[in-house]
Amino acid sequence: MNFTKLKKKLNSRATVRALIAITIFFILWEIGSRSEDLFGVRFPWIGLVPAPSGVFAAWAGLLGDSSYWASWYLSAKRVFTGFLVAMLLGIPFGLYMAVNRTFNGIAFPTFEILRPIPPLAWVPASIIFWPTAEMSIAFVTFLGAFYTIVINVLGGAKSIDTRFFQAAESMGASQWDIFRRVVLPATLPSIVVGSAVGMGITWEVVVAAEMISGGGSSGGAGGGLGFFIWNSYLGGSYEQIVVGMLSIGIAGYLSSEGLRKLGGYFTPWLKTR
């Protein structure tokens, strides 16, 4: 992005609106948190939440702390490992279910029974059957994204208009051509949507899994932003709890934004709508 473009973006109405909204959000939060000092009455709920000024002060202190960044790194590593494996297995699995009726008949019922089980319900079982805590966290994270990706790919590939197949077949396309040049590109938008949703779920799952599996005590694994939040809670550092929460918000946003950009790159024709 060049300078004029950046300037234009910063001056755009949407950016100004977003900045004002975020500022007001923090001001109201600050007032709410300090309601007891300011008005002599503690506002319900918000009165117990640490004030943003305190949170940012705590955050500033953590920026130079390598263990804070290690938490980011560990969580991000788990999210991306789980997510990538979910993509690598989920996309072919969904596509194959969409194009092969026999395989669909075999795999879909089992898939549909397993799908409603929340990934977190797998935590105890996966701790039992995976050799390390790290692997069980990665597995649970993988599950979070896998079902969403598969169901989106399957739905996307099944809803392709038959006209496209008929047109391609008339023009002499082979089965492989039809798969590569019709099924795959026609399913791409659904793959992008499924990935974005799956990524969101992955962040939700990793944090919870980290809280459950705990810190360094469990077989050398542990850590991560989820553990960071839990540890701050146990240590009574309420500001750090909020720092951890906001960190996950930012991490999730960055991942989704990155995926959206990547998705846009792979589906250029959608920009024209």
Binding site: D161, S170, M171, G172, R181, T272
Partner: protein, 284 residues
């Protein structure tokens, strides 16, 4: 060969369709809906044959049988005396000698217009890629599509999209173009423009056109012959020669002969539409 055909010397010599006693029954063991009932029709090579009937009368069923998208229950269909489908082989094999221009368009939204137009020859692989794209560019330019080669179909007007689709079809050098109410969704002004453009393309390319429509004005304006169909089951009710010489332009629409043919046929079409309406037929 009709009298009209002789006026036009540039007609194609290939692409004659013969429909012989075709019957199509959907769900023969259950509801047994007769879509096409003992239909006979001869379409000479190079003719623009307009199949006119109300929505859902079964005319698309006939088109799908020719294209090879659906099977027939009995009868036979020939293309230049070669069997497409018949008793031994109820479903024709789709091929690039018969290309369909679909009702809602079937351009691939994920390919640019140029890539769409080049698709057929690329699949066949008989020409080099460079030659294919050269030809595609040239054909697009001939059809007034210069400048939209690198756009996606979603970026151009629906009228232009239809034109791209016809060019994509012609790239396959088909003997027959099968039109399935391609201009149904367009407003009447755009339609007129599209009709003239289609005729222009037709005059330049030797093809037979099998064109399905429920729009009588469109049918008379474009066609050498109108085949007015009965509503489900579908078979020719009356065949009308349109003795207005080609090449035609929009002035035909206000000519006395056009109005005469309109008057001759309107009643027949409306009669079938009423039948279809009373039967509560859905889209077919």
């Amino acid at each position: 060969m009709s009298a009209m055909m002789k006026d036009n010397e540039s007609l194609a010599d290939k692409g004659a369709i013969r429909i012989e006693d075709v019957v199509k029954i959907y769900d023969p063991d259950g509801a047994a809906v007769i879509a096409v009932d003992h239909c006979d029709l001869d379409v000479p090579a190079g003719e623009i044959c307009m199949i006119v009937g109300p929505s859902g009368c079964g005319k698309t069923t006939l088109l799908n049988a020719i294209a090879g998208f659906h099977d027939i229950t009995s009868g036979a269909i020939y293309l230049d005396d070669e069997l497409l489908c018949g008793p031994e082989k109820p479903k024709a094999v789709p091929g690039s000698d018969r290309i369909v221009v679909f009702q809602n368009g079937a351009l691939f939204p994920w390919k640019t217009n140029l890539e769409n137009v080049a698709f057929g020859p690329l699949m066949k692989g008989e020409m080099s890629k460079a030659d294919i794209y050269d030809k595609a560019r040239k054909m697009m330019a001939d059809a007034g599509l210069e400048g939209s080669e690198n756009n996606y179909p979603g970026e151009i007007s629906s009228g232009l999209r239809r034109r791209v689709e016809i060019v994509r079809a012609l790239m396959n050098e088909p003997k027959v173009l099968l039109f399935d109410e391609p201009y149904r969704a367009l407003d009447s002004l755009t339609k007129s423009v599209m009709h003239e453009a289609l005729l222009e393309i037709y005059y330049k390319n030797k093809v037979t056109i099998f064109f399905i429509t429920h729009d009588l004005e469109e049918a008379i304006f474009l066609g050498h012959r109108l085949v007015i169909m009965t509503s489900r089951p579908c078979k020719p009710k009356k065949i009308v020669e349109v003795d207005i010489p080609h090449p035609r332009d929009y002035s035909v629409l206000t000519s006395p002969r056009f109005k005469e043919i309109m008057a001759e046929t309107k009643g027949l079409v409306i009669e079938e539409a009423k039948k279809a309406f009373e039967a509560g037929e859905k889209e077919g």
